[in-house]
């Protein structure tokens, strides 16, 4: 993992922890178990990279849907750090805090209130009417899908690999 940390450009990235983590996440590597692996080889690396494949013209609806789900699952795993299948409020707060960590002037409160607001929104989209006693556990994967319905993830989450040799360099 240390190799990843030593990449200089990643220094500025506020969510570098999560990105590096995602590479080692067993769920992303399509292994059955949970947790993290210690090292990855080139094949695993490519497995992760394949999540960022651009869509092709000749895909039909089903393939497109599957593609979309895969990409969203990758994202979901990044949010859900304790691997329990739900994004809880604490995890979400964590995400927002990391996103805003690039800015030293920030107070924790703002990050928290943003996360709270976002969670409220998510809850209202997903569940709608809730009595004051019900508790919303967290964002499950289905809710996550619902939230992303408006945004075409398949068109956005891709990296252009015009030149495949560059990948070999960093390994």
């Amino acid at each position: 993992k240390e190799n990843f940390d030593s990449i200089p450009d990643l220094e500025f990235n506020p969510i570098r922890g999560k990105i590096v983590h995602a590479f080692f996440d067993k769920r992303n590597l399509r292994q059955e178990s949970d947790g993290l692996v210690d090292e990855i080889n080139f094949e695993d690396f490519l497995t992760i990279m394949s999540y960022f494949r651009p869509i092709e013209m000749n895909m039909d609806e089903e393939q497109l849907d599957r593609f979309r789900k895969e990409k969203l699952k990758f994202l979901f795993h990044m949010y859900d750090s304790d691997h329990d299948g739900k994004i809880t409020l604490q995890e979400y707060r964590n995400v927002v805090e990391e996103l805003l960590s690039g800015n030293p002037h920030l107070e924790k409160e703002s990050a928290r209130s943003i996360a709270d607001g976002a969670m409220l929104e998510a809850a209202s989209i997903c569940v709608g009417q809730m009595g004051p006693d019900q508790v919303y556990e967290g964002i499950t994967f289905d809710d996550f899908l619902k939230m992303w319905q408006g945004i075409d993830i398949e068109t956005k989450m891709h990296v252009r690999f015009l030149n495949m040799e560059t990948i070999a360099h960093c390994y």
Partner: protein, 687 residues
């Protein structure tokens, strides 16, 4: 109904025709669209409106495609059309033989440009998906540079005896000068405008003026040097917008928006009406061959151009353009008033056949606007082209988009691949580090985008809430989800305070709102110079500060387990003491939807602070000055901090301005149905 079938632009042209006919019928000479008036007064508002509100994200994502369509596409159209028309003229018999190649090329260049006004007018109504909209619209905006260059080039060449290769090369170079020069001029003016807006905190009233003024100056300066005025206008709007919006007050922002929309609306209407009138008024020279072949070749050129270019572009695009998209792009190539005005500017000396050109151009314009404009909507439905999704920007979306951006940048960095995201990220960082510091006033320069967005949203909600204050219902609460649902307290034993039931909350809120509105509406004076800062904004800032301090205090309080000794011990005060007892409160004040005592309307989704708590007396010494606090006038300063151990709400404020006292009286009066239960924080003032 008629308006569903016929787009507005068509109706306007028809109105123009009728008016022109009327004037002619009376015997007067109807006015023709004066090119000066058009280019100086009618066109800029529309372009500025488009540029200022340009959806920058989609624009930059598709910039390559747009540029190729604009530049290569227009060039292709111009030369193809010009060449073919020349051929037609040569074969066309005695009436057309004398028209030279240059004249035809000029004609081609005038008529080949897709017109932003027409495109806007038609595409606005069909609500097509954003990608196509930005492609066609972006193309129509950017091809102005090409049109300007070609137009002036051929106009110049017509006066030359002979055209040499050097001239052609110079012409080619002048294209870069014109377009980049226009952008450069726009950027300079945009930066100046942004910089000016940094200092306008004392003269809020004329803030919108700067936006308009600087943009118009950019346009004029560019046009002065025969650079592309449209590109200058767009560049200045795009550059100045993020900084100006961070600096100016909310009201100025609304003003700018509505003025721009108003002016562009008026201009558009006038342009189309004038087109109609000019048709009736102008001298026409109808030549069947010329006109029909122009029309035909225009369409063919457009379709061919789009097909070939898309094939080329799709090699580099990740999200390919489907044939359906291509059809819409080709079909959306509307011509409009710019072509007409440009032709009108030609002088008779060199271009004797101007009238014929004019007729042909008008025919093409009519055809594209009427036929294509009217049929595009049913075609869009028929082909099931994706429409625009009317989703409100949600916080979630913003968070996710930012997250995705960082993720993709990270992945690119890992690959060592300097792609799209890498450069965007670099630009953002540069922006944040240097530019924002210069151009944005004070505190706001350090605000990350997510926060700014969140604030904007909350403000919007808060204003919504107040505006519907009399109804007593939370307008945006489609769901009854509240903070409690998400973050239930795990230690109920600490809750001595029962949560207010929703009805009581509502009552309290309604009372607050009603009372607050009354005080707010009584402005002291309406003198321009004392026109105050937006009370919402100030209130907002104050509320935020209060919240922060309340939290800080709360954290401190949580460390103390003893109740601070109170001086007074009357029954009301003892109740107040319980009310201010730190143990009685939940450690996390923000998870409770308690009503705010401060002046700001309660936003249902943001955690509200419990401002019943003591405020730190000396530590803050008054609120840190927010930018708007310099202004006099009705300032809602609710409480002054007093000594610890007393609860601010229940003691008369030390700041004794009448509004302050009035405020406290309002707040402390719970209304007709109070049931002060044990521990209810809202206790009437001991009178």
């Amino acid at each position: 109904s008629v308006s569903n079938i016929v787009p507005e632009s068509c109706l306007l042209i028809v109105v123009g025709l009728l008016v022109g006919g009327l004037i002619k019928g009376v015997g007067e000479k109807p006015p023709i669209l004066n090119s000066d008036v058009f280019f100086l007064f009618l066109l800029p508002p529309i372009i500025l409106d488009a540029g200022y509100f340009l959806p920058l994200r989609q624009f930059t994502e598709n910039l390559g495609t747009i540029l190729i369509f604009a530049v290569v596409g227009t060039l292709w159209n111009a030369f193809f059309l010009g060449g073919l028309m020349y051929a037609v003229c040569q074969l066309g018999g005695p009436g057309l033989n004398h028209i030279g190649l240059l004249a035809n090329l000029l004609f081609g260049s005038i008529i080949s440009a897709v017109d932003p006004v027409a495109v806007l007018a038609v595409f606005e109504e069909i609500h097509i998906n954003e990608l196509l909209h930005i492609l066609v619209f972006g193309e129509s905006l950017l091809n102005d540079a090409v049109t300007v260059v070609l137009y002036h080039l051929f106009e110049e060449f017509a006066t030359f005896e002979q055209v040499t290769i050097i001239d052609i090369i110079l012409g080619f170079l002048s294209f870069f000068v014109v377009s980049l020069g226009g952008v450069f001029v726009g950027v300079i003016y945009g930066l100046i405008a942004a910089f000016t807006s940094r200092f306008t905190s004392h003269i809020r009233v004329i803030e919108p003026l700067f936006v308009f003024l600087y943009s118009y100056m950019a346009y004029l300066s560019a046009e002065l040097f025969h650079l592309s005025g449209i590109m200058a206008l767009i560049a200045s709007g795009v550059v100045m917008r993020p900084y100006v919006e961070a600096n100016i007050s909310h009201k100025s922002h609304t003003t700018i928006k509505y003025f721009l929309k108003m002016w562009s609306s008026v201009s558009e209407t006038l342009i189309f009406i004038f087109l109609g009138v000019s048709t009736v008024a102008g001298h026409h020279y109808w030549n069947w061959t010329f006109v029909i072949s122009t029309l035909l070749f225009c369409l063919i050129a457009r379709v061919l151009g789009v097909l070939v270019l898309t094939w080329f572009i799709n090699k580099f695009r990740i999200v390919k353009l489907t044939p359906k998209d291509q059809f819409i792009i080709a079909y959306g190539g509307l011509r409009g008033a710019i072509a007409f005005s440009l032709c009108y500017l030609l002088d008779y000396k060199h271009f004797g056949m101007r009238d014929m050109f004019l007729t042909a151009i008008i025919t093409v314009i009519f055809f594209t606007v009427f036929v294509q404009g009217m049929t595009i909507r049913p075609l869009v439905d028929l082909l099931a082209v994706k429409k625009k999704q009317e989703t409100k920007r949600s916080i979630n979306e913003e968070i996710h988009t930012q997250f995705l951006d960082h993720l993709l940048t990270g992945i690119e960095d890992i690959c060592g691949h300097y792609g799209h995201h890498h450069w965007k990220d670099k630009l953002n960082r540069f922006n944040k580090k240097y530019v924002k510091k210069c151009l944005i006033a004070g505190e706001r320069s350090k605000e990350p985008q997510l926060i700014a967005f969140y604030h904007k949203m909350e403000m919007k909600q808060a204003i919504e809430l107040v505006e519907s204050g009399g109804i007593g219902k939370i307008p945006s609460a489609v769901s009854t989800v509240s903070i409690q649902n998400i973050n239930p307290k795990t230690l109920p034993v600490e809750r001595i305070l029962p949560a207010l039931s929703k009805d009581k909350e509502e009552e309290i809120r309604k009372i607050l709102r009603n009372n607050l509105q009354k005080t707010r509406q009584r402005l002291r004076s309406y003198n321009r110079h004392t026109l105050v800062a937006d009370p919402y904004e100030e209130a907002w800032n104050q509320m935020l500060l209060r919240r922060q301090k309340a939290r800080q205090l709360e954290q401190k309080m949580n460390n103390y387990l003893t109740v601070p000794a109170h001086k007074l011990d009357s029954p009301t005060m003892s109740r107040a003491r319980i009310g201010s007892d730190p143990l009685a409160y939940e450690p996390k004040a923000d998870s409770e939807n308690l009503p705010i005592i401060t002046i700001d309307p309660a936003s249902p989704q943001s955690p509200e602070s419990v401002d019943l708590m003591n405020e730190e007396p000396k530590g803050c010494g008054g609120l840190p000055p927010s930018p708007e606090e310099d202004e006099e006038g009705l300032v809602m300063r609710v409480k002054e901090p007093s000594s610890p151990g007393t609860d601010d709400v229940f003691t008369p404020g030390t700041g004794d301005s009448p509004s302050n006292q009035r405020m406290l009286r309002c707040l402390s009066d719970p209304g007709p149905r109070p049931e002060p239960e044990e521990g209810e924080p809202f206790i009437p003032k001991g009178q």
